[in-house]
Amino acid sequence: MTKERATAATVEFEHVSKVYGPAPARPHSGAGQTPTPGAVNDLSLSIPAGKICVLVGPSGCGKTTSLKMVNRLIEPTSGRILLGGVDAASRDVTELRRGIGYVIQQTGLFPHQTIIENVGTVPRLLGWPAARVKERSEELLGLVGLDPARYAGRFPGQLSGGERQRVGVARALAADPPIMLMDEPFGAVDPIVRERLQHEFLRLQEELAKTILFVTHDIDEAIRMGDLVAVFEQGGRVAQYGTPTELLANPASDFVARFVGADRGLKRLSLSRISEVELRPAVVGRIGEPAGPAGKRAAADPFPYLLLVDAADRPVGWVRDLDIPGDGVLTEAMAIPMSPLLSGQTTLKDALSMMLDADVHTGIVVDRDGRLKGLVTTDLIGAFLQSHGSVSPLAGSQAGS
């Protein structure tokens, strides 16, 4: 076996079908063409190496079946699946599975094994020396944001749902597989934790660049996670396969249009991030700085506020220019509550939502360390959307301003 580090491999479905059992003969109907749940009908999909492909659709549409045919937990009735160009059916099944990461909704963590034992499952099966298994498992726990010193010796039952999902991801990554299968991996946690896990996973994927098949029934998750999205419809057919932008801008059928939702214009907001928008510089005053000159600077700018930052450039709050005293220094006590803090990773949708919630038109953008990068306004977001994309997300929705 070649041990070279394969970061990703292509996955190709070629006319793959899965038929469940012979349809029971019905006396009063001819050929029973009702699709059985989970069946897959002539699926052809090509997933480039290093991309996340989301399989999305209503339940019973065959998306999980398609996923499980990749690691042969389900064998296709016909057609073939090529992994890195090699027919999956031609490979030894346990060896194949050990080379594919697998994450499922209910986590499937082994309740009687500690977290570190769980993470080391596949390396152990592959016969790695114990010391290397331990080292790798600890590294992975760190990677998914769980401190090995705290978590290694615990049992899955002692963890929260979100922590268990992280362990599930770490376990799937343990042997550095080129392909990952994720079946609603964040489905069992509450929406807030889910969103955090999604963001973290996307950041992880930027470094890992695995080929990922990701099943969900949640179109928002599909749009957020997918480089490519395959929309399944009943009967195990793919109604449309393309990038999220294509799907939202040009749904191929009524079914796809209904499935992505009437608010697909707004959904496009979630495809762009603050980092793509040109920010506006803020008028800044630092705590301890003489108030007089700072007040003059603020007054000279059309925006009537001064942004107060601390010594490390971290925003503290706004000061209204009229409230800045003529002498003395700027103090923290002058600051009034802040606009929402946004990062470059925040989607435009989330940014707008946060700004609306806070009843402001300006968001403060900070970097990873919390240092000020600039300001974003609703106007800037509107201008960005107009200059990008063929369909204006606000067109037809009578955006009152």
């Binding site: 346990t94 194949l96 697998y102 499922i104 909704q105 499937g108 499952t121 615990r154 049992f155 039952g157």
Partner: protein, 233 residues
Amino acid sequence: MIDWGWIGDHLGAILSRTIQHLELAAIAVLFGFAISFALAVLVQSRRSTYPLISGFAGLLYTIPSLAVFAALVSVTGLTIYTAEIPLIMYTLVILVRNIVAGFDATPGDVLDAADGMGYNRRERFQRIVLPLSVPLMVAGLRLASVSTIGLVTITATLGDSFGGLGFFIFEGYHRFFPTEILTGAVPSILLAIAIDLILVRVQRRLTPWASSQPPSRPTFEQIVVGPAGGPTG
């Protein structure tokens, strides 16, 4: 009321009868467990055998012990086989059902994950299914031990060389001597309670994960008990 002097005079006999009692019960439970385990493994690979095995074990449980003794004496004589065969027989219904339930207790997502990680069938059984079946297996062992310790007394009907503490119960009964009856009955009850408590501790030792995780403990519905109404003399 109680003749303490008699008890004091017979401490040696009480001790040796207690040991005999434990031996008779231990042999029955160990053999019963071995047979049941093998049957449960068979059920794992051939599910269709389960109704037959479970039904047969249930049927054995309904045969009165005195009838079995009487039938066996003509075959195996007044030997330990005659004493142990019925005792073993009665453990099967409890143990088979509990071990099978234990093997079935592995959650579906855990099996799915184990397969997806690349365990083969044997590895999956040994490293996942078997350890996870321990709580229900021990639950079965507890029931089987307690009921067997009770049943051992009946082997006293086979003669003085059997019966464990049951010897005192039978002899005391024939002599209308309550002290001796209690000398047999009370320690055998204490024995049953002690073994039960020991097995609870053993289970805690074997399943460190379960103490931290209430949901994985066997729930009341999961503990399979034998059919109502036990074998009687």
